[in-house]
């Protein structure tokens, strides 16, 4: 299996490992980890640093009743959760190809989701995660489809789940996680053969920058 070439970068991996990354972005990172042994190792190392920092913390004295409350709870909940008591949620066979943890956020196979058209050759499924303006969605591009030229007011994370796409900086395939900020002005094009399915998170609406769309955006602002 081919390992991804594009990674989230150290700062985002640190935010994921220390727990400060919000759920939509954490979902993209964690799904990339399924494809990427290299980033899994980075995260394991960052967690080990977290463990060492916890060890270094100056102990904060507990209230006198904390221990007795703990032992009482231990007594109530001392049985390990039995396997059978956990809800048995077997994924549908069609869902098995979808990597975790994304799979646990979907209730139907990719092909059966409620895809809505957003632009020519482009459809989306909103995952309904996070608070506006953050959006997490699946994007599906038809083979050869072109996303209109745009830039980002904030951050965009895009993880390739099937097929691939390219822009002027490179081409992206299964498991690649591309992070773009407002310095990037690009016009992604889906692979000719298969098109592309991506997990996409943005924290601000896109800004169109090409030709007539730039004109429209500017007119709207004035």
């Amino acid at each position: 299996m081919i390992e991804p070439k594009y990674h989230p970068g150290e700062e985002i991996l640190l935010d994921y490992a220390d727990g400060s990354l919000a759920e939509p972005a954490a979902l993209v990172v964690a799904t990339h980890l399924t494809f990427c042994p290299w980033c899994r190792r980075q995260v394991a190392e960052l967690e080990a640093i977290g463990g060492a920092l916890l060890e270094d913390e100056a102990p904060e004295p507990l209230s006198p009743e904390c221990l007795s409350a703990m032992m009482a709870r231990l007594d109530q909940g001392s049985c390990p959760e039995p396997e059978a008591a956990r809800p048995l949620r077997l994924p549908s066979i069609d869902l098995l190809g979808v990597p975790q943890p994304l799979r646990s956020y979907l209730d139907a196979p990719l092909s059966a989701l409620d895809w809505r058209p957003v632009a020519r050759g482009m459809e989306e499924v909103d995952l309904g995660l996070g608070r506006a303006p953050v959006r997490a969605r699946l994007l599906r591009l038809r083979a050869g489809a072109v996303v209109p030229r745009h830039t980002h007011c904030g951050l965009e994370m895009n993880l390739v789940l099937a097929g691939g796409y390219h822009d002027q900086r490179g081409s992206y395939r299964l498991g690649d996680l591309v992070v773009d900020d407002d310095s990037v002005d690009h016009r992604p094009v889906a692979e000719r053969g298969n098109g592309c399915v991506c997990l996409n998170v943005t924290d601000a609406p896109l800004q169109m920058t090409g030709g007539i769309r730039r004109f429209i955006t500017q007119r709207l602002r004035w």
């Binding site: 920092l53 916890l54 709870r73 231990l74």
Partner: protein, 225 residues
Amino acid sequence: MVDAVPLDSPFAGAAACPWWHMRLAADVATLWAMLETGLTDRATQGRNLDELVLAVARERSRPAFGALFGHFAPRMKSYLMRLGTDAGQAEELVQEVMLLVWNRAETFDPAQASASTWVFTIARNKRIDVIRRERRPEFDPNDPALVPQAAEAADRAIEAGQETARLRAAIGALPEEQAELLRLAYFDDKPHSVISAERGIPLGTVKSRLRLALDRLRRLLREPV
């Protein structure tokens, strides 16, 4: 087979067994005395933290759990309070984390992570769950879609158990401004830009100091002993 579970087994039902309550009270009294005299910390040093978790997994050992509680609970309380949780809620959360330690001890794998790292990840996830009310997305090591590590050579240079001790020594040897930023990154839920504004340090400097610190610690983890 009513008698299949011996009375003194941790699996014996508490309701059917008043003797169990007496033991519980005795446990609390002993452990409290240990905590007050700082004995657990000394006991913990004598007995490796990893072994204590394994003892909980194998024998449901209450003394081992008590020693883990004595060691980790006050540190976790401090960690959670730094992140803005008040003392009462921090103790509540600490108990929930330690309950998970008790219930999930079987899943602890000392080859993967040290006990401190394992507890850190449980505390981190519990905080996301309770305080932020969010799920914590994580990859599944048994996922058929998981791309495995290519070569055995990529194995860790040092054992997970030694990792924490080596890292602590290395963190202690970092320049103070780097160690401070590292603690802020892990224990304050603040973006780097906010840290930069609060400390009056340019954002680029915050990032480069943090990177220097992480690079140094990473190199240490990859060096053979």
